[in-house]
Protein backbone atom coordinates (compact mmCIF):
# COMPACT_ATOMS: atom_id res chain seq x y z
CA UNK A 1 0.00 0.00 0.00
CA UNK A 2 2.83 2.35 0.79
CA UNK A 3 4.24 1.82 -2.70
CA UNK A 4 0.91 2.60 -4.24
CA UNK A 5 0.47 5.76 -2.21
CA UNK A 6 4.00 6.82 -2.94
CA UNK A 7 3.70 6.34 -6.69
CA UNK A 8 0.39 8.15 -6.66
CA UNK A 9 1.81 11.18 -4.90
CA UNK A 10 4.99 11.05 -6.97
CA UNK A 11 3.12 11.28 -10.25
CA UNK A 12 1.01 14.13 -8.96
CA UNK A 13 4.16 15.90 -7.84
CA UNK A 14 5.67 15.65 -11.30
CA UNK A 15 3.21 18.30 -12.40
CA UNK A 16 4.83 20.63 -9.90
CA UNK A 17 7.78 21.50 -12.11
CA UNK A 18 6.30 24.95 -12.65
CA UNK A 19 6.69 25.66 -8.94
CA UNK A 20 10.43 25.10 -8.99
CA UNK A 21 13.07 27.81 -8.71
CA UNK A 22 14.10 28.91 -12.18
CA UNK A 23 17.83 28.50 -11.68
CA UNK A 24 18.72 26.41 -8.64
CA UNK A 25 22.40 26.42 -7.98
CA UNK A 26 23.40 25.82 -4.36
CA UNK A 27 23.15 22.28 -2.99
CA UNK A 28 20.43 23.39 -0.55
CA UNK A 29 18.38 24.90 -3.38
CA UNK A 30 18.63 21.67 -5.36
CA UNK A 31 17.82 19.81 -2.15
CA UNK A 32 14.53 21.70 -1.96
CA UNK A 33 13.61 20.21 -5.35
CA UNK A 34 14.41 16.73 -4.03
CA UNK A 35 12.27 17.47 -0.98
CA UNK A 36 9.35 18.69 -3.09
CA UNK A 37 9.44 15.78 -5.50
CA UNK A 38 10.59 12.90 -3.32
CA UNK A 39 10.57 13.44 0.46
CA UNK A 40 7.26 15.34 0.57
CA UNK A 41 5.51 12.19 -0.61
CA UNK A 42 5.75 10.83 2.95
CA UNK A 43 7.37 13.48 5.16
CA UNK A 44 6.22 16.88 6.37
CA UNK A 45 7.94 19.79 8.06
CA UNK A 46 5.28 20.78 10.59
CA UNK A 47 7.05 23.85 11.89
CA UNK A 48 8.20 25.22 8.54
CA UNK A 49 5.92 27.41 6.42
CA UNK A 50 5.83 27.41 2.64
CA UNK A 51 6.83 31.07 2.90
CA UNK A 52 10.03 30.09 4.76
CA UNK A 53 11.24 28.50 1.52
CA UNK A 54 12.02 31.99 0.27
CA UNK A 55 15.33 31.37 2.05
CA UNK A 56 16.11 28.84 -0.70
CA UNK A 57 15.54 31.31 -3.53
CA UNK A 58 11.98 30.25 -4.28
CA UNK A 59 10.08 33.26 -5.66
CA UNK A 60 6.85 34.39 -3.94
CA UNK A 61 4.90 33.24 -7.00
CA UNK A 62 6.53 29.82 -7.01
CA UNK A 63 5.80 29.49 -3.27
CA UNK A 64 2.16 30.46 -3.81
CA UNK A 65 1.80 27.97 -6.68
CA UNK A 66 3.39 25.17 -4.68
CA UNK A 67 1.28 25.92 -1.60
CA UNK A 68 -1.93 26.22 -3.62
CA UNK A 69 -1.44 22.66 -4.83
CA UNK A 70 -1.45 21.31 -1.27
CA UNK A 71 -4.61 20.79 0.74
CA UNK A 72 -4.64 21.50 4.44
CA UNK A 73 -7.38 20.78 7.02
CA UNK A 74 -9.94 23.55 7.37
CA UNK A 75 -12.43 22.65 10.09
CA UNK A 76 -15.57 20.70 9.34
CA UNK A 77 -18.52 21.23 7.03
CA UNK A 78 -22.18 21.49 8.10
CA UNK A 79 -22.36 17.69 8.45
CA UNK A 80 -19.25 17.52 10.63
CA UNK A 81 -17.08 15.96 7.93
CA UNK A 82 -13.51 17.33 7.75
CA UNK A 83 -12.97 20.01 5.12
CA UNK A 84 -9.74 21.05 3.43
CA UNK A 85 -8.60 24.15 1.60
CA UNK A 86 -5.68 25.09 -0.58
CA UNK A 87 -2.62 26.06 1.47
CA UNK A 88 -1.21 29.60 1.44
CA UNK A 89 2.43 30.67 1.94
CA UNK A 90 1.68 31.23 5.65
CA UNK A 91 0.63 27.59 6.17
CA UNK A 92 2.95 24.84 7.45
CA UNK A 93 4.34 22.17 5.13
CA UNK A 94 2.31 19.36 6.66
CA UNK A 95 2.84 15.65 6.22
CA UNK A 96 0.72 14.22 3.38
CA UNK A 97 -1.04 11.98 5.90
CA UNK A 98 -4.10 13.47 7.60
CA UNK A 99 -3.01 12.01 10.95
CA UNK A 100 -0.38 9.77 12.56
CA UNK A 101 -2.57 6.68 12.41
CA UNK A 102 -2.94 6.92 8.63
CA UNK A 103 0.79 7.59 8.34
CA UNK A 104 1.55 4.42 10.28
CA UNK A 105 -0.98 2.39 8.35
CA UNK A 106 0.63 3.41 5.06
CA UNK A 107 4.14 2.58 6.24
CA UNK A 108 4.05 -0.81 7.96
CA UNK A 109 3.43 0.71 11.38
CA UNK A 110 6.23 3.26 11.28
CA UNK A 111 5.47 6.96 11.07
CA UNK A 112 7.76 8.85 8.65
CA UNK A 113 9.49 11.39 10.95
CA UNK A 114 8.96 15.12 10.66
CA UNK A 115 11.89 16.77 8.88
CA UNK A 116 11.81 20.26 10.53
CA UNK A 117 14.75 19.58 12.85
CA UNK A 118 15.85 16.11 11.75
CA UNK A 119 19.34 17.23 10.69
CA UNK A 120 19.79 18.54 14.23
CA UNK A 121 18.21 15.78 16.29
CA UNK A 122 19.35 12.75 14.29
CA UNK A 123 22.54 11.37 15.76
CA UNK A 124 25.23 12.20 13.21
CA UNK A 125 23.40 15.15 11.70
CA UNK A 126 23.18 15.86 7.95
CA UNK A 127 26.11 13.51 7.25
CA UNK A 128 24.08 10.65 8.70
CA UNK A 129 21.06 11.58 6.52
CA UNK A 130 23.31 11.43 3.48
CA UNK A 131 24.83 8.15 4.64
CA UNK A 132 21.41 6.57 5.15
CA UNK A 133 20.28 7.63 1.68
CA UNK A 134 23.38 6.06 0.11
CA UNK A 135 23.67 2.89 2.19
CA UNK A 136 20.84 0.78 0.84
CA UNK A 137 22.02 -2.64 -0.26
CA UNK A 138 20.40 -5.92 -1.27
CA UNK A 139 19.51 -7.97 1.80
CA UNK A 140 22.37 -10.48 2.27
CA UNK A 141 21.54 -14.16 2.27
CA UNK A 142 20.64 -15.44 5.70
CA UNK A 143 19.26 -12.11 6.91
CA UNK A 144 15.53 -12.16 7.42
CA UNK A 145 13.88 -8.73 7.54
CA UNK A 146 10.29 -7.99 8.55
CA UNK A 147 7.79 -6.74 5.99
CA UNK A 148 8.40 -3.11 5.11
CA UNK A 149 12.00 -3.11 6.35
CA UNK A 150 14.87 -2.43 4.01
CA UNK A 151 18.51 -3.41 4.41
CA UNK A 152 20.66 -0.34 5.11
CA UNK A 153 24.21 -0.48 6.41
CA UNK A 154 24.20 3.08 7.82
CA UNK A 155 22.07 2.03 10.75
CA UNK A 156 23.06 0.12 13.84
CA UNK A 157 20.49 -2.60 13.23
CA UNK A 158 21.12 -2.60 9.47
CA UNK A 159 17.52 -2.00 8.50
CA UNK A 160 15.19 0.94 8.02
CA UNK A 161 11.46 1.41 7.40
CA UNK A 162 11.94 3.83 4.51
CA UNK A 163 12.09 2.23 1.06
CA UNK A 164 15.08 3.41 -1.01
CA UNK A 165 13.78 6.86 -2.02
CA UNK A 166 16.34 7.93 -4.62
CA UNK A 167 17.04 6.57 -8.10
CA UNK A 168 19.44 7.99 -10.68
CA UNK A 169 17.68 10.41 -12.99
CA UNK A 170 14.33 10.28 -11.18
CA UNK A 171 14.11 14.07 -11.45
CA UNK A 172 15.60 16.83 -13.55
CA UNK A 173 17.42 19.74 -11.96
CA UNK A 174 16.60 23.03 -13.73
CA UNK A 175 20.23 24.10 -13.50
CA UNK A 176 21.37 21.07 -15.50
CA UNK A 177 23.13 19.26 -12.67
CA UNK A 178 22.94 15.54 -13.26
CA UNK A 179 20.50 14.04 -10.73
CA UNK A 180 22.48 11.02 -9.62
CA UNK A 181 21.58 9.30 -6.36
CA UNK A 182 24.77 10.63 -4.73
CA UNK A 183 24.09 14.16 -5.97
CA UNK A 184 20.51 14.12 -4.69
CA UNK A 185 21.53 12.65 -1.32
CA UNK A 186 24.16 15.39 -0.90
CA UNK A 187 21.73 18.11 -1.95
CA UNK A 188 18.84 17.01 0.21
CA UNK A 189 21.00 16.63 3.33
CA UNK A 190 22.33 20.16 2.75
CA UNK A 191 18.74 21.35 2.42
CA UNK A 192 17.61 19.58 5.60
CA UNK A 193 20.61 21.00 7.45
CA UNK A 194 19.57 24.53 6.48
CA UNK A 195 15.96 23.81 7.45
CA UNK A 196 17.11 22.59 10.87
CA UNK A 197 19.15 25.76 11.38
CA UNK A 198 16.83 28.55 10.27
CA UNK A 199 18.32 31.95 9.43
CA UNK A 200 21.89 30.55 9.72
CA UNK A 201 23.25 32.64 6.83
CA UNK A 202 21.58 35.83 8.08
CA UNK A 203 22.83 35.05 11.59
CA UNK A 204 26.43 34.83 10.45
CA UNK A 205 26.14 37.90 8.21
CA UNK A 206 24.77 40.08 11.03
CA UNK A 207 27.28 38.51 13.42
CA UNK A 208 30.18 39.84 11.34
CA UNK A 209 28.76 43.39 11.53
CA UNK A 210 28.14 43.11 15.27
CA UNK A 211 31.63 41.80 16.00
CA UNK A 212 33.19 44.51 13.84
CA UNK A 213 31.20 47.16 15.69
CA UNK A 214 32.14 45.74 19.09
CA UNK A 215 35.80 45.50 18.09
CA UNK A 216 35.73 49.16 17.08
CA UNK A 217 34.05 50.06 20.36
CA UNK A 218 36.66 48.01 22.23
CA UNK A 219 39.48 49.96 20.57
CA UNK A 220 37.81 53.30 21.33
CA UNK A 221 37.02 52.45 24.95
CA UNK A 222 40.52 51.03 25.39
CA UNK A 223 42.11 54.28 24.18
CA UNK A 224 39.69 56.29 26.29
CA UNK A 225 40.32 54.37 29.50
CA UNK A 226 44.08 54.37 28.96
CA UNK A 227 44.02 58.14 28.54
CA UNK A 228 41.86 58.60 31.63
CA UNK A 229 43.95 56.29 33.79
CA UNK A 230 47.23 57.91 32.68
CA UNK A 231 46.08 61.27 34.00
CA UNK A 232 44.97 59.98 37.39
CA UNK A 233 46.27 61.93 40.39
Amino acid sequence: MSRLLRDLVLTSLASLLTALPACASTPAQRGLIVFQQVCAACHGMDHVDYGDMAAFGLSPDAIRTWAADQQIPNGTDDNGAPKTRAATPADPILSPYPNDAVGRLANHGLLPPDLSRLAMTLHGGPAQIQRILLSYAPTPAGVKLDDGRYYNTALKWKHIGMPPPLQDGMLTYPDGTKATTTQMATDVSAFLNDVAHPHAAERRRIGVYVLTYLALMAILTFLLQRRIWKSRP
Partner: protein, 387 residues
Protein backbone atom coordinates in the same frame (compact mmCIF):
# COMPACT_ATOMS: atom_id res chain seq x y z
CA UNK B 1 37.08 72.46 39.48
CA UNK B 2 35.21 72.81 42.78
CA UNK B 3 31.47 72.36 42.47
CA UNK B 4 29.91 75.74 43.30
CA UNK B 5 27.47 75.77 46.19
CA UNK B 6 24.15 76.19 44.44
CA UNK B 7 20.73 76.47 45.98
CA UNK B 8 19.06 73.12 45.34
CA UNK B 9 16.75 73.15 42.31
CA UNK B 10 13.07 72.30 42.09
CA UNK B 11 13.61 68.58 41.52
CA UNK B 12 16.41 68.36 44.08
CA UNK B 13 14.24 69.78 46.85
CA UNK B 14 11.53 67.20 46.18
CA UNK B 15 13.42 64.10 45.02
CA UNK B 16 17.20 64.28 45.25
CA UNK B 17 17.90 61.80 42.45
CA UNK B 18 20.59 63.88 40.80
CA UNK B 19 22.67 64.32 43.93
CA UNK B 20 22.26 60.64 44.82
CA UNK B 21 23.36 59.64 41.34
CA UNK B 22 26.34 61.95 41.60
CA UNK B 23 27.28 60.62 45.02
CA UNK B 24 26.83 56.91 44.21
CA UNK B 25 27.84 56.66 40.56
CA UNK B 26 30.10 59.59 39.76
CA UNK B 27 32.00 60.66 42.86
CA UNK B 28 31.70 57.24 44.57
CA UNK B 29 35.17 56.43 45.96
CA UNK B 30 36.60 53.21 44.58
CA UNK B 31 39.84 51.47 45.56
CA UNK B 32 42.60 52.31 43.09
CA UNK B 33 43.85 48.77 42.59
CA UNK B 34 40.82 46.78 41.36
CA UNK B 35 41.65 44.23 38.67
CA UNK B 36 39.63 42.87 35.75
CA UNK B 37 37.79 40.37 37.97
CA UNK B 38 35.88 43.32 39.47
CA UNK B 39 34.21 43.93 36.11
CA UNK B 40 32.10 40.78 36.30
CA UNK B 41 29.47 42.49 38.43
CA UNK B 42 28.93 44.95 35.58
CA UNK B 43 28.73 42.04 33.12
CA UNK B 44 26.07 40.43 35.30
CA UNK B 45 23.95 43.60 35.32
CA UNK B 46 24.20 43.94 31.53
CA UNK B 47 23.41 40.25 30.94
CA UNK B 48 20.47 40.45 33.30
CA UNK B 49 19.14 43.46 31.36
CA UNK B 50 19.51 41.52 28.11
CA UNK B 51 17.69 38.55 29.67
CA UNK B 52 14.75 40.64 30.87
CA UNK B 53 14.43 42.53 27.60
CA UNK B 54 14.65 39.45 25.38
CA UNK B 55 12.47 37.50 27.83
CA UNK B 56 9.67 40.05 27.63
CA UNK B 57 9.67 40.00 23.84
CA UNK B 58 9.83 36.20 23.79
CA UNK B 59 6.89 36.00 26.20
CA UNK B 60 4.85 38.06 23.74
CA UNK B 61 5.15 35.22 21.24
CA UNK B 62 5.20 32.23 23.59
CA UNK B 63 2.18 30.05 24.47
CA UNK B 64 2.34 28.24 27.83
CA UNK B 65 0.23 25.25 26.78
CA UNK B 66 1.66 21.78 26.27
CA UNK B 67 -0.01 21.42 22.87
CA UNK B 68 1.34 24.74 21.56
CA UNK B 69 4.47 25.59 23.56
CA UNK B 70 6.88 23.68 21.32
CA UNK B 71 5.30 25.05 18.14
CA UNK B 72 5.30 28.61 19.48
CA UNK B 73 9.03 28.36 20.20
CA UNK B 74 9.62 26.97 16.70
CA UNK B 75 7.65 29.91 15.30
CA UNK B 76 9.87 32.31 17.25
CA UNK B 77 12.93 30.63 15.74
CA UNK B 78 11.56 30.57 12.21
CA UNK B 79 8.71 32.96 11.45
CA UNK B 80 8.68 35.82 13.97
CA UNK B 81 10.81 38.65 12.53
CA UNK B 82 14.15 38.71 14.40
CA UNK B 83 12.75 36.01 16.69
CA UNK B 84 15.84 33.85 16.20
CA UNK B 85 17.97 36.70 17.52
CA UNK B 86 15.83 37.27 20.61
CA UNK B 87 15.82 33.57 21.41
CA UNK B 88 19.58 33.20 20.92
CA UNK B 89 20.15 36.28 23.06
CA UNK B 90 18.10 34.62 25.81
CA UNK B 91 19.69 31.17 25.46
CA UNK B 92 23.23 32.52 25.14
CA UNK B 93 22.44 34.89 28.01
CA UNK B 94 21.90 31.99 30.40
CA UNK B 95 25.39 30.74 29.68
CA UNK B 96 26.93 34.19 30.06
CA UNK B 97 24.93 34.79 33.25
CA UNK B 98 26.07 31.59 34.95
CA UNK B 99 29.65 31.92 33.73
CA UNK B 100 29.87 35.46 35.15
CA UNK B 101 28.07 34.39 38.32
CA UNK B 102 30.53 31.58 39.02
CA UNK B 103 33.54 33.80 38.25
CA UNK B 104 32.08 36.61 40.40
CA UNK B 105 31.68 34.17 43.32
CA UNK B 106 35.13 32.67 42.78
CA UNK B 107 36.56 36.22 42.90
CA UNK B 108 34.85 36.82 46.25
CA UNK B 109 36.21 33.53 47.59
CA UNK B 110 39.74 34.28 46.42
CA UNK B 111 39.87 37.82 47.80
CA UNK B 112 37.84 37.10 50.92
CA UNK B 113 35.05 39.52 49.99
CA UNK B 114 32.61 37.59 52.20
CA UNK B 115 34.26 38.69 55.44
CA UNK B 116 33.13 41.43 57.78
CA UNK B 117 31.71 43.89 57.08
CA UNK B 118 30.51 42.37 53.76
CA UNK B 119 28.59 39.31 55.04
CA UNK B 120 25.23 40.59 53.85
CA UNK B 121 26.70 41.48 50.46
CA UNK B 122 27.86 37.86 50.23
CA UNK B 123 24.55 36.40 51.41
CA UNK B 124 22.40 38.53 49.06
CA UNK B 125 24.73 37.47 46.26
CA UNK B 126 24.30 33.78 47.07
CA UNK B 127 20.56 34.36 47.34
CA UNK B 128 20.67 35.83 43.84
CA UNK B 129 22.50 32.74 42.61
CA UNK B 130 19.79 30.46 44.02
CA UNK B 131 17.08 32.62 42.44
CA UNK B 132 18.85 32.55 39.09
CA UNK B 133 19.07 28.76 39.36
CA UNK B 134 15.34 28.39 40.05
CA UNK B 135 14.56 30.79 37.18
CA UNK B 136 16.86 28.95 34.80
CA UNK B 137 15.28 25.63 35.71
CA UNK B 138 11.74 26.96 35.18
CA UNK B 139 12.76 28.64 31.92
CA UNK B 140 14.32 25.49 30.55
CA UNK B 141 10.98 23.68 30.85
CA UNK B 142 9.14 26.24 28.74
CA UNK B 143 10.14 25.10 25.20
CA UNK B 144 8.56 21.74 26.12
CA UNK B 145 11.19 19.67 24.33
CA UNK B 146 12.37 16.26 25.43
CA UNK B 147 15.12 17.70 27.67
CA UNK B 148 12.68 20.20 29.17
CA UNK B 149 10.26 17.46 30.04
CA UNK B 150 12.68 14.90 31.43
CA UNK B 151 14.86 17.46 33.19
CA UNK B 152 11.79 18.84 34.93
CA UNK B 153 10.53 15.34 35.76
CA UNK B 154 13.82 14.40 37.41
CA UNK B 155 14.15 17.67 39.32
CA UNK B 156 10.56 17.68 40.54
CA UNK B 157 10.86 14.05 41.64
CA UNK B 158 14.08 14.96 43.45
CA UNK B 159 12.33 17.83 45.18
CA UNK B 160 9.54 15.41 46.11
CA UNK B 161 11.95 13.20 48.09
CA UNK B 162 13.12 16.04 50.37
CA UNK B 163 11.76 15.28 53.84
CA UNK B 164 8.92 17.48 55.12
CA UNK B 165 8.88 20.31 52.59
CA UNK B 166 9.57 18.28 49.43
CA UNK B 167 6.10 16.90 48.87
CA UNK B 168 4.14 20.14 49.26
CA UNK B 169 6.65 22.11 47.17
CA UNK B 170 6.66 19.65 44.28
CA UNK B 171 2.85 19.41 44.40
CA UNK B 172 2.65 23.19 44.35
CA UNK B 173 4.82 23.30 41.22
CA UNK B 174 3.18 20.34 39.48
CA UNK B 175 -0.42 21.20 40.30
CA UNK B 176 -1.36 17.62 39.47
CA UNK B 177 -0.22 14.03 39.45
CA UNK B 178 2.18 14.36 36.52
CA UNK B 179 4.05 17.03 34.61
CA UNK B 180 1.42 18.58 32.36
CA UNK B 181 -0.39 21.71 31.37
CA UNK B 182 -0.86 23.01 34.92
CA UNK B 183 2.81 22.56 35.71
CA UNK B 184 3.90 24.26 32.49
CA UNK B 185 1.68 27.23 33.20
CA UNK B 186 2.91 27.47 36.80
CA UNK B 187 6.55 27.24 35.78
CA UNK B 188 5.96 29.98 33.17
CA UNK B 189 4.55 32.30 35.80
CA UNK B 190 7.35 31.32 38.19
CA UNK B 191 9.98 32.05 35.52
CA UNK B 192 8.43 35.41 34.69
CA UNK B 193 7.94 36.48 38.32
CA UNK B 194 11.40 35.36 39.46
CA UNK B 195 13.05 37.52 36.80
CA UNK B 196 11.64 40.64 38.44
CA UNK B 197 12.23 39.35 41.97
CA UNK B 198 15.89 38.98 40.95
CA UNK B 199 15.92 42.64 39.90
CA UNK B 200 14.72 43.61 43.36
CA UNK B 201 17.40 41.53 45.10
CA UNK B 202 20.04 42.98 42.75
CA UNK B 203 18.97 46.39 44.04
CA UNK B 204 19.55 45.15 47.62
CA UNK B 205 22.91 43.66 46.64
CA UNK B 206 24.07 46.91 45.03
CA UNK B 207 22.76 48.96 47.95
CA UNK B 208 24.77 46.77 50.33
CA UNK B 209 27.84 47.26 48.13
CA UNK B 210 27.46 51.02 48.30
CA UNK B 211 27.25 50.90 52.10
CA UNK B 212 30.28 48.66 52.75
CA UNK B 213 32.29 49.77 49.65
CA UNK B 214 34.06 47.31 47.34
CA UNK B 215 36.78 45.00 48.59
CA UNK B 216 40.09 45.09 46.69
CA UNK B 217 42.95 42.69 45.86
CA UNK B 218 45.04 43.81 48.86
CA UNK B 219 42.19 43.09 51.24
CA UNK B 220 42.88 46.31 53.12
CA UNK B 221 40.16 48.91 52.83
CA UNK B 222 41.33 52.37 51.72
CA UNK B 223 41.29 54.84 54.58
CA UNK B 224 42.11 58.21 53.02
CA UNK B 225 40.62 59.84 49.91
CA UNK B 226 44.10 59.71 48.37
CA UNK B 227 43.79 55.93 48.17
CA UNK B 228 40.61 56.08 46.13
CA UNK B 229 39.49 57.13 42.67
CA UNK B 230 36.04 58.41 41.72
CA UNK B 231 33.86 55.82 39.99
CA UNK B 232 33.48 58.11 37.00
CA UNK B 233 35.44 58.43 34.77
CA UNK B 234 37.97 55.85 36.00
CA UNK B 235 35.87 52.74 36.49
CA UNK B 236 33.14 53.68 34.03
CA UNK B 237 35.74 53.82 31.26
CA UNK B 238 37.45 50.64 32.38
CA UNK B 239 34.17 48.74 32.74
CA UNK B 240 33.16 50.10 29.35
CA UNK B 241 36.22 48.58 27.75
CA UNK B 242 35.79 45.29 29.64
CA UNK B 243 32.14 45.25 28.61
CA UNK B 244 33.07 45.50 24.93
CA UNK B 245 35.29 42.43 25.26
CA UNK B 246 32.56 40.63 27.19
CA UNK B 247 29.95 41.49 24.56
CA UNK B 248 32.25 40.15 21.85
CA UNK B 249 32.22 36.76 23.58
CA UNK B 250 28.43 36.98 24.04
CA UNK B 251 27.95 37.95 20.37
CA UNK B 252 30.22 35.12 19.29
CA UNK B 253 27.96 32.70 21.13
CA UNK B 254 24.75 34.23 19.75
CA UNK B 255 25.81 34.65 16.12
CA UNK B 256 28.40 31.98 15.43
CA UNK B 257 27.95 29.14 17.93
CA UNK B 258 24.22 29.06 18.72
CA UNK B 259 24.25 25.27 19.03
CA UNK B 260 27.45 25.01 21.08
CA UNK B 261 25.72 24.61 24.43
CA UNK B 262 22.21 23.56 23.47
CA UNK B 263 21.14 19.96 23.60
CA UNK B 264 19.72 18.79 20.26
CA UNK B 265 17.15 16.57 21.98
CA UNK B 266 15.30 19.66 23.12
CA UNK B 267 14.29 20.20 19.49
CA UNK B 268 12.15 17.07 19.76
CA UNK B 269 8.76 17.78 21.30
CA UNK B 270 8.24 16.39 24.82
CA UNK B 271 7.09 12.78 24.78
CA UNK B 272 6.06 11.29 28.14
CA UNK B 273 6.50 7.76 26.71
CA UNK B 274 10.18 7.99 25.73
CA UNK B 275 13.14 9.21 27.80
CA UNK B 276 16.01 10.36 25.56
CA UNK B 277 18.97 7.99 25.77
CA UNK B 278 21.55 10.71 26.21
CA UNK B 279 20.06 12.77 29.02
CA UNK B 280 22.33 15.49 30.34
CA UNK B 281 21.83 18.69 32.30
CA UNK B 282 22.78 22.11 30.97
CA UNK B 283 26.44 22.80 31.77
CA UNK B 284 25.69 25.20 34.62
CA UNK B 285 23.88 22.50 36.61
CA UNK B 286 26.40 19.77 35.77
CA UNK B 287 28.48 20.00 39.01
CA UNK B 288 25.40 19.46 41.18
CA UNK B 289 24.15 16.72 38.87
CA UNK B 290 27.51 14.97 39.21
CA UNK B 291 27.19 15.04 43.02
CA UNK B 292 23.66 13.60 42.75
CA UNK B 293 25.01 10.69 40.70
CA UNK B 294 28.20 10.13 42.69
CA UNK B 295 26.33 9.30 45.91
CA UNK B 296 24.80 5.82 46.01
CA UNK B 297 21.78 7.05 47.99
CA UNK B 298 18.91 9.17 46.73
CA UNK B 299 18.47 11.30 49.81
CA UNK B 300 22.21 11.40 50.47
CA UNK B 301 22.96 12.68 46.98
CA UNK B 302 20.30 15.31 47.27
CA UNK B 303 21.55 16.47 50.66
CA UNK B 304 25.15 16.67 49.44
CA UNK B 305 24.14 18.58 46.30
CA UNK B 306 22.27 21.08 48.45
CA UNK B 307 25.09 20.98 51.01
CA UNK B 308 27.67 21.93 48.39
CA UNK B 309 25.87 25.29 48.17
CA UNK B 310 25.04 25.47 51.86
CA UNK B 311 28.74 25.54 52.79
CA UNK B 312 29.03 28.78 50.83
CA UNK B 313 26.26 30.32 52.91
CA UNK B 314 28.04 29.21 56.09
CA UNK B 315 31.42 30.46 54.92
CA UNK B 316 31.46 33.79 56.85
CA UNK B 317 31.24 31.78 60.08
CA UNK B 318 33.53 28.92 58.94
CA UNK B 319 36.39 31.24 57.99
CA UNK B 320 37.20 33.31 61.07
CA UNK B 321 40.52 34.71 59.86
CA UNK B 322 40.56 38.49 59.57
CA UNK B 323 42.93 38.25 56.57
CA UNK B 324 40.92 38.56 53.39
CA UNK B 325 42.82 37.63 50.21
CA UNK B 326 44.02 34.06 49.67
CA UNK B 327 47.20 35.56 48.22
CA UNK B 328 48.31 36.39 51.76
CA UNK B 329 47.28 33.02 53.27
CA UNK B 330 49.72 30.29 52.18
CA UNK B 331 47.49 27.31 52.95
CA UNK B 332 44.33 28.78 51.47
CA UNK B 333 46.32 29.70 48.39
CA UNK B 334 46.84 25.97 47.84
CA UNK B 335 43.51 24.65 49.06
CA UNK B 336 41.13 27.10 47.37
CA UNK B 337 42.41 26.59 43.79
CA UNK B 338 41.98 22.86 44.37
CA UNK B 339 38.38 23.53 45.37
CA UNK B 340 37.92 25.50 42.13
CA UNK B 341 39.40 22.61 40.17
CA UNK B 342 37.07 20.23 42.03
CA UNK B 343 34.06 22.31 40.97
CA UNK B 344 35.20 22.30 37.32
CA UNK B 345 35.92 18.54 37.45
CA UNK B 346 32.46 17.93 38.88
CA UNK B 347 31.04 19.95 36.00
CA UNK B 348 32.94 17.92 33.42
CA UNK B 349 31.96 14.68 35.12
CA UNK B 350 28.32 15.76 35.10
CA UNK B 351 28.44 16.14 31.33
CA UNK B 352 29.79 12.63 30.81
CA UNK B 353 28.09 9.24 31.18
CA UNK B 354 28.60 7.90 34.71
CA UNK B 355 31.41 5.47 33.99
CA UNK B 356 33.55 4.09 36.85
CA UNK B 357 36.31 6.64 36.18
CA UNK B 358 33.99 9.63 36.20
CA UNK B 359 32.29 8.38 39.35
CA UNK B 360 35.65 8.21 41.13
CA UNK B 361 36.61 11.67 39.82
CA UNK B 362 33.27 13.05 41.03
CA UNK B 363 33.68 11.52 44.48
CA UNK B 364 37.23 12.80 44.96
CA UNK B 365 36.31 16.26 43.71
CA UNK B 366 33.21 16.37 45.87
CA UNK B 367 35.21 15.25 48.90
CA UNK B 368 37.76 18.01 48.37
CA UNK B 369 35.02 20.65 47.98
CA UNK B 370 33.64 19.75 51.39
CA UNK B 371 37.05 19.26 53.03
CA UNK B 372 38.14 22.69 51.87
CA UNK B 373 35.13 24.49 53.30
CA UNK B 374 34.38 22.38 56.37
CA UNK B 375 37.89 21.33 57.51
CA UNK B 376 40.59 23.48 55.92
CA UNK B 377 38.92 26.86 56.34
CA UNK B 378 38.04 26.57 60.08
CA UNK B 379 41.38 24.96 60.99
CA UNK B 380 43.52 27.30 58.98
CA UNK B 381 41.87 30.39 60.37
CA UNK B 382 42.80 29.18 63.87
CA UNK B 383 46.51 28.70 63.32
CA UNK B 384 47.80 30.26 60.14
CA UNK B 385 50.72 32.59 59.69
CA UNK B 386 49.74 35.19 57.15
CA UNK B 387 52.25 37.01 55.07
Amino acid sequence: MPIPEKTPGWLERRLPVMSVLRREYIAFPMPRNLNALWSFGAFLIVTMAAMIASGLFLAINYTPDITQAFASVEAIDRQIPSGWFLRSLHMGGVTMLFACLYIHIARSLWYGSYKAPRELLWLTGLGLMLMVMVTAFAGYVLPWGQMSYWGATVVLNAVHTIPLIGKPVSELLLGGETLGNTALHRLFVLHFTMAFAILAVIALHVAALHVVKPNNPSGIDPVSPKQTLPFHPYYTSRDGFALCLFLMVYAGLVFFLPDLLTLADNYVQANPLVTPRDIRPEWYFAPFYAILRAVPSRLGGLLLAVGSLAVLFALPSLDRSPTRPATRRPLVRLSLPLAFVSFILLGIAGMHPPTETWLIVSRVAMAWWFIHFLVVMPLVSEREITS
